[in-house]
């Protein structure tokens, strides 16, 4: 890969106790490109994301970051203790940020209606938008999104991916994203990395989707099952919240 990287991960390995989580993984995150990590559960996707963020140090290998790089992070979950009174607005002002800026960013992600809503009362899709807004407020060079469409209905999933694409084009920032949903990933990303403790295959979505390692890991039927599974998962969530 070229040298104009934002973050470069080079031959890293991570081990928890006797458990190898990542083995000899390298990757470059570049400006203006969307990289998506896919892989089964326990493949080390979140661990790799945490290494890029600097939350975990690898047992071996190197991480290089551009000087003064600002990273916007959108975590997988945000569970707010119901006993903490916190509105969307207050959550977004946590990082010393002006109020009019918050309004414009919330407009951008389509969540301006919930400015004064307590965080505990927003829906799954709105929560993802708030978290995205939070990451964007820092005007990041690199956006790191850990399963950004979790708990969002199918229509909302497409909207969110459109939004992410739009942000990528408008803000010229690099995006590193973890995803479970293979279909949508194929349509919206520049570069896919298929991870299962090590990198199985990587490249443009169309190349990866025909790669024998990819098919061995997911298979065409397994890919469908995965999509159905996410759908079920969503329905369950809805029942609980109703």
């Amino acid at each position: 890969m070229q040298s104009n990287y934002l973050v470069r991960v080079k031959n890293i390995s991570v081990q928890f106790q006797y458990n190898i989580v990542l083995e000899n993984v390298s990757l470059d995150v570049q400006q203006n490109k969307i990289i998506t990590l896919i892989g089964p559960n326990g493949a080390g996707k979140s661990t790799l994301v945490k290494i890029v963020l600097g939350l975990i140090m690898p047992n071996s290998g190197k991480i290089l970051r551009q000087k003064n790089i600002i990273i916007g992070y959108m975590p997988q979950h945000l569970h707010i203790n119901p006993i903490l009174p916190l509105t969307v607005e207050r959550f977004l002002t946590l990082g010393d940020i002006k109020k009019d800026k918050i309004k414009s960013i919330l407009d951008e992600v389509g969540a301006s209606k919930i400015l004064k809503t307590p965080l505990q009362h927003v829906s799954g899709g709105e929560m993802q938008r708030v978290l995205l807004a939070r990451a964007l407020l820092r005007e990041p060079d690199l956006l790191v999104l850990d399963e950004p469409i979790q708990g969002v209905d199918v229509a909302g999933q497409y909207e969110l991916y459109d939004l992410i694409n739009h942000i990528n084009q408008e803000k010229q920032c690099g995006i590193l994203m973890v995803s479970h949903d293979l279909h949508i990933v194929m349509a919206t990303t520049d570069y896919v990395i298929c991870l299962n403790k090590k990198i199985c295959c990587s490249g443009h979505p169309t190349t990866v989707s025909q790669h024998p390692d990819y098919l061995a890991l997911f298979g065409s039927k397994a890919a469908q099952d995965l999509a159905i599974y996410t759908h079920h998962h969503y329905q369950n969530n809805q029942q609980i919240s109703a």
């Binding site: 939350l55 992070y73 975590p75 945000l78 903490l84 009174p85 916190l86 207050r90 946590l94 820092r138």
Partner: protein, 281 residues
Amino acid sequence: MDIFHLDAFLWRALLGGIGVAIIAGPLGCFIIWRRMAYFGDTLAHSALLGVVLGFLLDFKFNYFEINLNTLLTLSTLFICIMVALLLVILQAQKRLATDTLLGILAHSVLSLGLIALAFLQGEGLRIDLYGYLFGDLLTITETDLYWIYGGGSLILLSFVWLWRPLLFITIHQELAQVEGVAVTPIRLLFMLTVALVIAISMKIVGVLLITAMLIIPAATARNFSHTPEQMSIFASLIGCIAVIIGLFMSWHWDMPLGPSIVLGSSMLFMFSFLFCNYLPS
């Protein structure tokens, strides 16, 4: 003369109680936001060992003739910090869940305190155990008041400084870390603050009831608050009202002060709980 005397100790109790309530407000909010109620309890249980250590030092090694109350506060602070550090070390091993560790620590250190106390009593030292477990109006001295207001100002000042990063860590630790909050030092400072509050407020409600002073007013304040800052200020106010109710009940019906204050705050909690059924969510 007698009336004057009674007045003086009532005033001391009132001032001491209000001082503790003001500090306990914001701290208690963070304790319930961070689900650390059991941590507070563990430090409070450990405080007894601190008290015994203070008496031992005073009894055997007080060459500098330090005021007994100061010595007790310092030794309690020392033991609380040691227990908090031990917890941090054990947590880092990731072998047992935090609540299990706290259960082990709390009762081990409490037992150690009770055994050490028995030995000291065997040596002929008289300690009012009941007073330290449940608080005692009569033991509040001027030195205690200096500790409460001196230490309390320090705690409130550090809270102004800690507020934003601590709130951020409470909401999402990893997000805070990515955005540049120094997570470990801030968590350690918070633990230190809890230890300091327990050491200085032990006299008012006793080691077994301190956690109630932290948790109940904060939980009551939740029902009226829309922002974290509001909640902590309301928690302080509610704590003050509970102290006044407790003192009143204790004075009029000859009830023990510590439990009366706790009962006062429980009553306020019940009131807010029922009242808030009528508020739109």
